[in-house]
Structure formats: structure tokens, C-alpha cells
């Protein structure tokens, strides 16, 4: 498969070469993968504002129970549930997924493999349109009568299945519909990514010449496709339970509420790796560039990613240890869960080993990539407490879990995104971001990140459960010490949110007035840097499509004057 295979008729570029795309064609209904990527990026960033606002409102309530939150008002118990539910849903499904996979997958895959576009540009456009529909449905769910869905992002029935219990008849159904439509969007997009990476690689690009980012996004898409089916089926069953009166999950009518948990987590755990792997890909690409080093053990990293992804299908019930499943099952799932530490630890070790013998430049993208490794390690190791069934009896559904998975998801969704965004910004917008502002934003994000979540580990260890809007109802949890930890977390959150303004300013200001970027400002090897910044429609001149002569990580090769060796440069 080293030769590029073109699928005729799927491109539609020929039409476009005849006339300049109109505003509508370019920005509203684009077929160009770069603009579809941008649509996903900006929609994801827009949704992050909501995710951030929700967490601001409910963290203020936790730190100062009953206060009128500036910009929000008093948080009622029903609103509190709606805020936490939608914070989780938005951040995972409408921020991490669209940005990490869809935005960067769309923008980077054709550029990194030397293709002029995706193989199915119209499917690609459809994917975004479905996604946008899901955004609108979700946002509608916040404003309907009864309020938004508040049954937690896991949406366990019978609570989610029966509006007599949830008291959000429209909110639950709209939330569920939005999630299902969003999955359809990513299925369509994922098919495109995999097909493109398999068929449209530049001549000479063998499997091991493919940059890690492309590999990881494709593996993530495969994981997603293989895991999402049961959940879509489950979502339809749950929708029927809500709207038609079936009883798939209703024990009064012979259904089983635990069935939903199996369907949900069979998807839900691989989903963690669906968003993790692309972030790992960005990190691999960025650390090699700024350490001027070949990736340590390219093949092994690939195997660890495949191993982690495969194992992730066999760990789902660790979310259900105490859910009422047969207690003997916990033993099996403890073994698989603890085993997953092996490939993922090895991948992190290999990233760290890549730094050995390097010449490390602490640019902004490199700082983010390094922070990903340092912070994700905390999330990774604390997962072992929770995977150990005996320990999970106590820690399940406490703030220890919250702190643990935010130490995985924050590095993935935000540190991973900032890694990619600051690194590929010159290629996306043709200008450089400001380094000083970038560093201010970096430290203003990473320091409060730790002061938010370290207190939450202690709160969880002290027995504080999740999803409770006011701990004053629990005498053991209303001590001043514990309340101070809650206030510390909330204050740190305010600092973190405030520093995002620095990023937004830097992002938009640099887009308009940043220093012009050259084609290859970081002296990187991969193909996207061989075309202009930003790349033209079709990515390269049709007569000048790149050919590939070597792997993506040939940095500091002895005997060469330059410390990099672009993939397309003939030997």
C-alpha cells in the first residue's frame, strides 16, 4: 500500500479550480478538509466556553453554598445536577471529541500523508453538519420546560428513563438525542479518516513512515467505531423507554437497569482512549521536533497504543464494581484493568526516553507536550487505586475519582489541544503565536490545574461523594478544613479560567496580526511543513504533490548539516 490510490469522483477539486469558492462555499458548506477542521475547532472552542461556565457556577456553589453566583444567580439542586451533567457531557462529547479527533484529524491527516483532501469530502461535510445539529439539540435541552437533563453524564436508568423520577421530560430526551446524533457524526468522520489514511498516502509512504498523530487518530477512530455500536443501540432503547413506554431498563416491566451500564461503559471506557490516543500522537510529534530527536521505539509505541486500545474493550465493568454485578466479576475486571497499566506506562516511558540525548528547546508547544506527560502520569497512577477492586469499594463515586479522571481528561482535552494548537497554529493561520503570552498562559493553566485537583484527592479520601450540591447536610463533611479545600479548588479554578483569556487574546490577535510564518517555522520533517502556511486549496500544487523517502522522525542524523531531514527530500 505504498502507492497512493486515488478514488475518482470523491474529490470534487476539479470543480473548484475553475472558480474561487464563494464565502458560502468556503466557510459555511466547505468541502476542503482544512475548513471543516476549522469548523470543528471553533465549534469545540465555543462549546468549551459553556463547559467552563458550568463548572464555574457549580464550583462557586460548592465553595460558598447558597451564594448568588455572579453572572449566574443562586444554584438550585435541580440546576446543580443540570450543570454537572452538562459540564461532563459538553467537555467530553462536544469539546474533547470534536477538537482532538475531528478538528485535528481533519486538518492534519491529509496534510501529514501528502494528500490533497479526504477521500470522502462530502461525507466529511455531512459529519460536521450532523455535529452542528447535535450542538443545537444539546443547547436547546438547556432551555426547555423542566430544565436541562440532570441525571449525570452516565445517564443511568431508571432515573434517566422515567421523567417521573428525573423531572426533566424534555431535557433528558433532547440530551440523549444530541448524544446519539453526535456519535453518528463521529462515525461518519471516523470512516473518512481511516479510509483516507489507508488509501491516500503520498507515494513512498509506508506504514512506518506515517507520523504518530495520523496513526493515533486512526486507531482512535477504529476504537470509536468498534465500541460505539452498543451505546447507540442502548441510546435508542433508552429513548424508547423515555418516549414510547418500553421497559428495556425498567425492572417493573422485566427490564434491567444494569444492562444500560454495560452498554454505556463498553463504549465509555474505550472512549477514554479514543481521546487519549490523538493527544499522545500530538505529544510524540511535538517532543521529537523540539528535542531534535528520533522517536524512541516508533514500532513499540504503536504496539503499546494498539495494546491499550484492545485491552480497553475488556475493562468496562471496573466502573461497576459496586453496581450490583456478580462480585466474582470484579476479580476478572481488576486483572484486565491493572494490566492496562503496562502498555500505557510503557508508552509514557518511551516518550520520556525520547528526551534522552536530545537538544531540548522549551518552546510553548514543547512545554505543553511535556506538561502532558508530567500531568497525565498523575492521572495514570491514581487510576490504579480505582482499578483495584478492594480499594474501589471505598473510593468509588468519591472526589478521588473526580480528581483522577480530571488528571487524565484535562491533560488530554486541554493540554493535548494546546500542544497541537500552538504547534500547528502557523500552518493553520499562516502566522506565529506570541511566545511570551503563550508562556504566561501555560503557567497560568498548569499551576492552578494542580491546585484545583490535588485538594479534590484529599476530599475524596475523606469520603466526600460526587454530585452533591451542598455538603452542609453531612456533619462529617462540613468541617472547616474540608470546606477550605473546596474553596481552594474553586479559587484555583477562577485563576485557571482567567488565564484562558490570555490564550483567547493570543489566539485571535496572532491570527490577525501575528508575525508571518514561514512554511516550516519549527524545522520539522513531516509533510504538512513542505507546503505554504496556510496551505492552498488542494494543499500542494497538483504538479508538485510530495513523495516520501523516509520516516517522519529523522532528526539529528549524523553526517548531515541540518538537524532535520524532511520526509519528501530525495536522499
Amino acid at each position: 500500500m505504498s502507492e497512493a490510490v486515488k478514488i475518482d469522483g470523491a474529490h470534487g477539486h476539479d470543480d473548484h479550480h475553475h472558480h474561487e469558492p464563494t464565502f458560502l462555499e468556503k466557510w459555511i458548506f466547505p468541502l476542503d478538509h482544512k475548513f471543516i477542521g476549522m469548523q470543528y475547532l471553533f465549534t469545540g472552542m465555543f462549546m468549551a466556553l459553556f463547559g467552563g461556565f458550568f463548572v464555574y457556577a457549580f464550583r462557586m456553589q460548592l465553595a460558598f453554598p447558597g451564594m448568588s453566583v455572579p453572572g449566574y444567580g443562586t444554584v438550585s439542586p435541580a440546576e446543580y445536577n443540570m450543570l454537572i451533567t452538562n459540564h461532563g457531557s459538553v467537555m467530553i462529547f462536544w469539546v474533547a471529541m470534536p477538537v482532538l479527533i475531528a478538528a485535528f484529524g481533519n486538518f492534519l491527516i491529509p496534510l501529514m500523508i501528502g494528500a490533497d483532501d479526504m477521500v470522502f469530502p462530502k461525507l466529511n461535510r455531512l459529519s460536521f453538519q450532523l455535529f452542528l445539529t447535535s450542538v443545537l439539540i444539546l443547547m436547546a435541552s438547556w432551555f426547555v420546560e423542566g430544565g436541562g437533563f440532570g441525571g449525570a453524564w452516565t445517564s443511568y436508568p431508571p432515573l434517566s428513563a422515567d421523567s417521573n423520577y428525573s423531572m426533566t421530560p424534555l431535557g433528558s430526551s433532547l440530551w440523549l438525542t444530541a448524544v446519539a446524533v453526535e456519535f453518528a457524526a463521529f462515525l461518519v468522520g471516523g470512516i473518512n479518516f481511516i479510509t483516507t489514511a489507508m488509501n491516500s498516502r503520498a507515494p513512498g509512504m509506508k506504514a512506518q513512515d506515517v507520523p504518530m498523530t495520523v496513526w493515533m487518530i486512526c486507531l482512535a477512530s477504529i476504537l470509536f467505531m468498534a465500541s460505539v455500536g452498543p451505546l447507540i443501540a442502548g441510546a435508542i432503547m433508552l429513548f424508547f423507554d423515555q418516549m414510547v413506554g418500553t421497559g428495556f431498563f425498567d425492572p417493573r416491566r422485566g427490564g434491567d437497569p444494569i444492562l444500560w451500564q454495560h452498554l454505556f461503559w463498553f463504549f465509555g471506557h474505550p472512549e477514554v482512549y479514543v481521546v487519549l490516543l490523538p493527544a499522545c500522537g500530538f505529544v510524540a510529534d511535538v517532543i521529537t521536533v523540539f528535542a531534535r530527536k528520533k522517536l524512541f521505539g516508533y514500532q513499540t509505541i504503536l504496539y503499546t497504543a494498539i495494546g491499550t486500545g484492545s485491552l480497553s474493550f475488556f475493562v468496562w465493568a471496573h466502573h461497576q464494581f459496586i453496581a450490583g454485578i456478580d462480585p466474582r466479576m470484579a476479580n476478572i475486571f481488576t486483572v484486565t484493568t491493572v494490566l492496562i497499566s503496562i502498555p500505557i506506562a510503557e508508552m509514557m516511558f518511551l516518550f520520556i526516553a525520547t528526551l534522552y540525548g536530545g537538544s531540548i528547546r522549551f518552546t510553548v508547544p514543547m512545554l505543553w507536550a511535556l506538561a502532558f506527560i508530567a500531568e497525565f502520569l498523575i492521572g495514570g497512577v491514581t487510576g490504579i487505586y480505582l482499578g483495584a477492586s478492594g480499594m474501589d469499594i471505598y473510593f468509588h463515586d468519591t472526589y478521588f475519582v473526580i480528581a483522577h479522571f480530571h488528571y487524565t481528561f484535562f491533560p488530554i482535552a486541554f493540554i493535548g489541544t494546546f500542544t497541537a494548537l500552538t504547534f500547528w497554529f502557523p500552518k493553520m493561520f499562516g502566522r506565529m503565536m506570541n511566545e511570551t503570552l503563550g508562556k504566561v498562559h501555560f503557567w497560568g493553566t498548569v499551576i492552578p490545574l494542580n491546585t484545583i485537583f490535588i485538594p479534590l484527592f484529599f476530599l475524596g479520601a475523606a469520603g466526600q461523594h460526587r454530585r452533591i450540591y451542598n455538603y452542609n447536610h453531612f456533619p462529617d463533611l462540613s468541617t472547616p478544613d474540608l470546606q477550605n479545600l473546596r474553596i481552594m479548588a474553586t479559587m484555583s479554578l477562577l485563576v485557571l479560567l482567567a488565564f484562558q483569556a490570555v490564550f483567547l487574546f493570543n489566539f485571535f490577535y496572532s491570527m490577525i496580526a501575528g508575525e508571518k510564518a514561514s512554511a516550516n517555522p519549527w524545522k520539522s520533517n513531516t509533510l504538512e511543513w513542505t507546503t505554504s502556511s496556510p496551505p492552498p486549496h488542494g494543499n500542494w500544487h497538483p504538479d508538485d504533490m510530495p513523495k516520501v523517502y523516509r520516516g517522519p522522525y529523522e532528526y539529528s542524523v549524523p553526517g548531515r548539516e541540518d538537524d532535520y531531514w524532511p520526509q519528501n527530500e530525495p536522499a
Partner: protein, 221 residues
């Protein structure tokens, strides 16, 4: 140490806290090694004028050892983690000892009902004492609890016992505990159960046998 954050009020709380110590030693040892190596490499191989990066493929035997040896050691540590987790799990969740007494715990939106055996010591008889949001136990007695839910999922959690079990409508789930410390402690609902989830608080009162007799004599008031 977890017992500094909250008391150990059940017979197996100390086992879970010990497991926490074992896991912590393993976890934070590896964490310190990985982060230590990471930051040392960052400092040692920072950009220096005139010092080029080395060309290393990752296939060098003397370097691969730095991956394969920790890899093997982690597998060994994983075995310890698995053995510890399973033995605690087996004692708390799988192997139920013979009970002295049995209580029923019924969860509903948004309250806990507890049915205690009356003076006859038997459950489901006429002298049962039913309370709401108030579980009364005798120090040193081994209990079975029979957990049910009337509507949605709830989770019966007593942090000082280090115990948690989801309640599922349509099922009766049996578990056990032996309280070992008198006092009054929180019971929380640990599974999202709707608008009142945050106020679904109850407490457990653990008394000495004599005090419990006195409580029984009042008929549970």
C-alpha cells in the same frame, strides 16, 4: 493515612486502609522514578550551544534495558496490586460471614428507611423497629444488610465503614459489616438519584450493647 481523615468504624476498614498504604507505596515509588527521570532528562539534555542531539533509534540494547527492566518490574508490582485488591474484595464483598443480626435498608427518592430487628433479634417479625435516615447498630455484632431500592439507583455508602453498595430497584442485595467503634457517622447516597440526591443524608448510630438495649426499650425513639 486514611484513618487520619476519618475513623475506621468497621472490622474491614483497617484492611482497606492497609491496601491503600500498599498501593500508595507502589504507585508513588514508580511515579517518583518516572517524574525524577523525566525532569533530570529535561535538565541534562536542554538545548546548549554547539551540543547536537544524538541519533538514537530505540533499538540500542543498552538503552532498551531502561524500558524493559521497569516494564518487568511493573508486571511484578501489578501482581501485588491484583493480589491485594482481590483479597480485600473477597473479604468485604464475596465472603459473607454468618450474621448475628440482619437489617433491611430501603432506599427511595430521597430517604433511607432502616428496618431493625426488635428485642427478639429477628428481622421481619412484629417487633421490628423501622426508622428513617437513622441506622442503629451494636458495636461488635456482625450484620447482614439487605439492600433494596423503591425507584431509581441509589448507593448505600458509609465512609467510616469504607463500605459502598449500589441499590437497584427490583433486587435485594445482601452485604455485611461489623461495626467496631461507637459514635454517630454519615451515611451518604453515592449514586445520582435525582433532584434530592444532595440531601439524601442519613446517619449511623453505633452503640454499646447496653445502650442499644436501652434504645430498643424505647421502641426506637
Amino acid at each position: 493515612m486514611l484513618q487520619n481523615l476519618l475513623p475506621q468504624a468497621s472490622s474491614f476498614a483497617a484492611d482497606i486502609d492497609l491496601l491503600w498504604v500498599v498501593l500508595s507505596v507502589i504507585i508513588w515509588f514508580w511515579f517518583a522514578c518516572a517524574q525524577g527521570m523525566f525532569f533530570w532528562l529535561l535538565w541534562r539534555y536542554r538545548y546548549q550551544e554547539g551540543v547536537p542531539a544524538q541519533y538514537i533509534t530505540g533499538n540500542e540494547k543498552h538503552l532498551k534495558r531502561w524500558i524493559t527492566v521497569p516494564h518487568a518490574l511493573i508486571i511484578l508490582c501489578d501482581l501485588v496490586v491484583i493480589a491485594g485488591a482481590m483479597s480485600v474484595w473477597y473479604n468485604v464483598k464475596q465472603n459473607l460471614p454468618e450474621p448475628d443480626l440482619t437489617v433491611r435498608v430501603v432506599a427511595q427518592q430521597w430517604a433511607w428507611s432502616f428496618i431493625h430487628p426488635g428485642p427478639d433479634g429477628e428481622i421481619d417479625t412484629d417487633d421490628d423497629i423501622k426508622t428513617v435516615d437513622d441506622l442503629n447498630l451494636v458495636e461488635g455484632k456482625t450484620y447482614h444488610f439487605k439492600l433494596e431500592s423503591r425507584d431509581v439507583l441509589h448507593s448505600f455508602s458509609i465512609p467510616v465503614f469504607r463500605l459502598k453498595q449500589d441499590a437497584i430497584p427490583g433486587r435485594e442485595i445482601t452485604g455485611w459489616f461489623t461495626p467496631i467503634k461507637t459514635g454517630t457517622y454519615d451515611i451518604q447516597c453515592a449514586e445520582m438519584c435525582g433532584i434530592g440526591h444532595g440531601i439524601m443524608a442519613a446517619h449511623v448510630v453505633i452503640r454499646t450493647e447496653a445502650d442499644h438495649e436501652a434504645w430498643l426499650a424505647t421502641g426506637g425513639n
